[in-house]
């Protein structure tokens, strides 16, 4: 098991037991950063007791200097990235992303996978992949769910930059702030809410593709799990 904090090069990982923080230190995503993010997910799943995980920083997307232009890019590398984003999206913790600078491509994707999304003033979000001749990964899937196919076409096909005002209007981010308010986050996302939050997130993400009757079956299965939690039962007694 990886020790938190020390062995990472492309990010910094801290965990105070309530909140885990992952700072992206590299301007662009390379293979090393992908592997380190995978290790972070391992630690978050296997070891961490934190109920909230915050990703923060900025990212300009894939670092093409990391790839041999003669060989080209490996499709399995793209698959690994998508699996990583999916793991973040499925963590049984509340997930947050604080955009301290512009998020392009993969960095923007990672934000879309998180529950709580905030940005500093002036930050821009962009998916330039189609303009470069390839695809913005499963942002094609996530972004359409956030904003509908109409807006998603504009953002993905034309690669237009989205500022914070429009991002708030489209629901891509919740707010603009200079710094995250940890006390406020702690107050809203307590340890006993992590499982319910993850279940609610899953039901929301599935809502577009599920008929009501199936969704109700899913809800009852999830609800039984939520109300059987000792944390929920303790709360009832108070």
């Amino acid at each position: 098991m990886s020790k938190p904090s020390s062995p990472f090069e492309t990010l910094r990982y801290d965990d105070d037991g309530d909140i885990a923080t992952v700072r992206l230190l590299r301007p662009r995503i390379n293979v090393r950063q992908l592997q380190e993010l995978e290790r972070v997910c391992d630690a978050l799943t296997d070891v961490s007791k934190a109920s909230l995980v915050i990703f923060r920083g900025a990212s300009q997307g894939i670092d093409f200097t990391d790839f041999d232009p003669k060989v080209g890019l490996d499709i399995h590398g793209f698959n690994k990235w998508e699996k990583l984003v999916r793991r973040v999206e499925q963590l049984e913790k509340v997930t947050a992303f604080f955009a301290e600078g512009d998020l392009v491509g993969g960095g923007f994707q990672l934000l879309l996978a998180c529950d709580v999304r905030s940005a500093r003033a002036g930050v821009q979000f962009r998916l330039p992949e189609v303009q470069m001749g390839f695809l913005p990964g499963m942002a094609t899937w996530r972004l359409a769910r956030y904003v509908g196919v109409g807006h998603a076409r504009r953002l993905i096909l034309r690669g237009v930059a989205v500022g914070t005002d429009e991002a708030i209007r489209l629901g891509l981010i919740d707010d603009v702030r200079e710094e995250l308010d940890h006390a406020d986050l702690r107050a809203h996302y307590r340890p006993e809410t992590a499982v319910a939050a993850a279940l609610a997130r899953r039901l929301l993400l599935e809502s577009g593709e599920t008929q009501f009757e199936d969704a109700l079956g899913n809800l009852l299965a999830a609800q039984f799990r939520a109300i059987s939690q000792s944390a929920f039962l303790e709360n009832l007694k108070r």
Binding site: R202, G217, L220, R225
Partner: protein, 354 residues
């Protein structure tokens, strides 16, 4: 793998010839009660294969317990041998090559049991050892596989065959109550056979599943939640399913999985394939949300339920067959098999393809 590990070399299945849609059954047996009708039509089952009785003048079937037991026996002797042949035919073996036979059923009591009847009917060698597992319900396929793989490991190179034969249409009570309607709308008839052999040889051809271990989980407080009762009024055995048991099973599912993974120093993310018993939509949903599995993870569980209903002990082998036919399994992949049933119990097995 240095030691001879038990491998699942082939799976064969069979069902009765008559395939019916849920709506056909309502017509055939003149079911008018809207609540019962919606149980059939709103379920996630489209078709089932059943040994159906002829309807009486009132539209309802009238089979005595004696007739049901007889149906269990002749039905089992039809689909059982078909599943065995389908299994052994894939690897060019005959019943003469089988050294151990485990048979599993819950839908009827027989003495001598299914192993003796199958051996006599199909011409197994007289020195084939055997074991009958009777009355354990939907989970029994993995209880039986535990025995068959242990036998195979103790006898490397020898062939063990496990056959699940369930004629659920021989365990129906038709009395217009919701309790029996739940059962009648859910269970189907089917048989599944799996060939198990342990050897140290490298496998050629497509990936072969090795069984690495088992973990069980009994929920004693839910002992009465799934049970066979004697229905005095009907003069028949009647299966009872508690309304909440799917959720209770789901809530307990992470426990045996966690133990099974810990025994082999694995994490759940290392599991690529899930073979979950097609018990019914509710229990599969509950397992999904407790273990964090997706619809994709349980796609074969759903499709087997849709096409056959709950086939009791053999269901998970139908899913195994579909998984192998799909061609997505790669050498080195891990999988977890999970069955659940009366006890109440959850049985799990860890497999790895190589």
């Amino acid at each position: 793998m240095p030691e001879a590990s038990p491998r699942l070399l082939a799976v064969g299945t069979a069902n009765p010839p008559e395939k019916v849609r849920q709506e056909d059954l309502l017509l055939r047996f003149k079911v008018e009660d809207p609540k019962i009708r919606s149980l059939f039509t709103a379920s996630h089952i489209r078709t089932r294969h059943l040994y159906l009785p002829v309807a009486g003048d009132d539209g309802a079937p009238h089979e005595t317990q004696g007739q049901l037991l007889a149906k269990h026996k002749w039905g089992a002797m039809q689909i059982g041998p078909q599943a065995v042949e389908a299994c052994l035919g894939q690897v060019g073996l005959t019943v003469r090559d089988i050294d151990h036979l485990t048979c599993i059923t819950t839908t009827g009591f027989l003495a001598p049991g299914l192993t003796a009847l199958l051996m006599a009917k199909m011409g197994f060698r007289e020195d084939c050892s055997r074991a009958d597992l009777v009355g354990m319900g939907c989970n029994a396929g993995l209880n039986g596989l535990n025995i068959a793989t242990a036998w195979a490991s103790a006898n490397p190179g020898k062939n063990a065959l496990m056959v699940c034969i369930e004629v659920c249409s021989a365990a129906y009570v038709f009395d217009n109550t919701m309790s029996t309607a739940v059962v009648n709308s859910l269970f189907g008839d089917g048989a599944a056979a799996v060939l198990v052999r342990a050897s140290t040889l490298d496998d050629q051809g497509p990936p072969v599943a090795h069984v690495l271990g088992f973990n069980s989980h009994l929920i004693p407080e839910a002992a009465g939640a799934m049970r066979f009762d004697w229905d005095e009024q009907a003069g028949k055995f009647s299966f009872f399913l508690d309304r909440d048991i799917p959720y209770v099973v789901g809530a307990n599912a992470p426990r045996p999985v966690a133990r099974l993974l810990a025994q082999h120093a694995l994490k759940q993310r290392h599991i690529s394939h899930w073979i979950v018993h097609s018990g019914g939509r509710k229990v599969v949903d509950a397992i999904k949300y407790n273990l964090g599995l997706t619809d994709y993870d349980v796609r074969h569980t759903h499709s087997v339920l849709r096409d056959f209903g709950n086939l009791s002990s053999g269901s998970f082998l139908f899913s195994t067959q579909r998984l192998m036919a799909e061609g997505k399994v790669r050498r080195g992949d891990f999988g977890i098999m999970m069955t659940m049933g009366p006890g109440s119990t959850i049985e799990t097995a860890l497999i790895r393809w190589s």
